[in-house]
């Protein structure tokens, strides 16, 4: 079909659908956004325009519960992490703890500490993602704002470009820390029954400690001052992390 004709057809089609929904007093949100996963909401209104009924529909199913059957137990931390690529570390750790229980072992002291370091690092960067990118726009930009502004770009407009850059650089360093232990940050590989796959080299510890302090300071600023117009605390770690082989640009 010729472009102008196609365009006219598209517009007419959409107007007809919208008119049909309005006549049926139906509002559809498809898809729901700024979360991991798929969802659709159908809202039905009564004669006065009040909500009579709303349906949340989840139009996806992958079947992890069934296709994990028959897999070696030690593969499960890496398989279950694929339930979610935003929080793979959570699934990975839960699965790893199941392996501890299955083999009736306690993790080694260092193994436990490394797991806690990785997990706490994940919680911080994941919560930063939620605050600034996923849920934050609803609170910082507001639900009345136009759709095109209800996102990270709109959030940066409210908290300032400096803060936006700090979110990005803080999360990058924290995720590089996770990749140090887990091989990669999305779907890490460290979990084993009784411990983890890789140790921490003592020479890298001071940088991790400094990163942790600065990340917590940034979280505090986010909580208390981010929408006040002030600037976030300045980091001292500015050079690329010495262990950051995962995101380093190759020649």
């Amino acid at each position: 079909m010729e472009s102008a004709v196609q365009q006219t057809f598209n517009q007419g089609n959409l107007r007809a659908n919208a008119a049909y929904r309005a006549a049926r007093r139906q509002v559809t949100i498809d898809p729901i956004t700024r979360l991991e996963g798929h969802g659709k909401i159908d809202i039905y209104l009564d004669e006065r325009g009040d909500v009579a009924r709303a349906y949340l529909q989840v139009p996806e199913l992958r079947g992890f519960e069934v296709f994990s059957l028959g897999r070696p137990a030690e593969d499960m931390p890496q398989i279950t992490s694929r339930i979610c690529g935003v929080c793979p570390t959570a699934h990975h750790m839960a699965s790893t703890k199941c392996l501890d229980d299955l083999y009736q072992v306690e993790p080694t002291s260092a193994g436990r500490k490394i797991r806690e370091l990785v997990y706490n690092t994940f919680v911080l960067e994941d919560h930063a993602l939620h605050f600034y990118v996923l849920g934050g726009p609803d609170f910082i930009v507001g639900p009345e704002a136009p759709p095109a502004e209800r996102n990270i770009v709109g959030v940066i407009g409210k908290v300032g470009l400096e803060a936006g850059k700090r979110v990005i650089s803080t999360r990058k360093r924290l995720r590089e820390l996770i990749a140090y232990f887990g091989g990669k940050v999305v779907h890490p590989v460290l979990g084993l029954p009784g411990g983890v796959s890789k140790p921490l080299a003592p020479a890298d510890l001071p940088e991790f400690q400094q990163l942790a302090k600065e990340a917590v300071a940034f979280a505090e600023w986010t909580k208390t001052r981010s929408t006040s117009g002030s600037s976030p605390p300045t980091p001292t770690l500015t050079a690329p992390a010495t262990w950051a082989w995962w995101t380093r640009k190759t020649a």
Partner: protein, 328 residues
Amino acid sequence: MPKPKVAFYWCASCGGCEETVVDLAEDILGVVEKVDIVLWPVAMDFKYKDVAALDDGAIFATLLNGAIRTSEQEELAVLLRRKSRYLIAYGACAQLGGIPALANQFSREQVLQFNYEDAPSVVNPTRTRPQVHFEEAGRTPHLPEFRHVVRALDQVVDVDFYVPGCPPTPNLTRAAFEALLNGNLPPKGSVLAPDVALCEECTRKASKPTNVSFTEFKRPHQALWDSGQCFLAQGLVCMGPATRRGCGAACPQGNMPCTGCFGPTSRVRDQGAKMLSSLSANVAARDEEGIRRTLDGLPDPVGTFYRYGLAKSLLRRKVNLPAGSNGH
């Protein structure tokens, strides 16, 4: 000059590919300046109707991740194909089926029965299953059809390029964007990653054995692994030789073997079969009993050799499972 439109969409996916795009970190601000994102459910509030309202071919490039399992995912793949000049299968699920394609070992009925009836945490006394059409007092919400088979994207629509990985790396993603925006594109159908096996970039390459003979296959939790030596030399299955490089050998850096997420090089038709045949040829035992005992170290061949690639393997799914009326 209007900015080129770009869309990101996810099918049977986990969101890890979206995270990788966000992991472009400061580079993403540069991308956002150069393109006009018209769909990205994880980060932006554009809806399907906004995409439907665009002209055909109006989107310069769509990066679509996730495998295809439901009728809605098929419809979105077809819609985005129509609206896009370039459709890129982004990530292992779109390229090969990915981990969700492991469901091709099971029937649709097995999945639905367990998830909605037999699972220990399910409370569903009426045994209600998801229904495509549902009516209540004149209201008709609906769900998509759950197919019998998991498919890769190019088993549903025509695909221009592939970016491999579970997930891809930020470096590969940056390179793919640059190639698209500068018009430096390889032939249609290319995989946008080097066409060489992973061993080439692995720090353990020097100890990769030229002749290896397996008396047993060990599993990752059964020993403390030397952090510098090739896993195959240590008796552990590593998919590196059958897997395309491009990730910097990330998992060996984490002291665990490669599981094959980048898929095969262009010279290999079936990644799992290639690795299976290579390892089998190197089993030391020559007697039935010895061979059987050696292979006991591989309790889950499908999960080991086809973890990401079952949908694109020669067999695609366990044989004799039922199919839908359209074959899927």
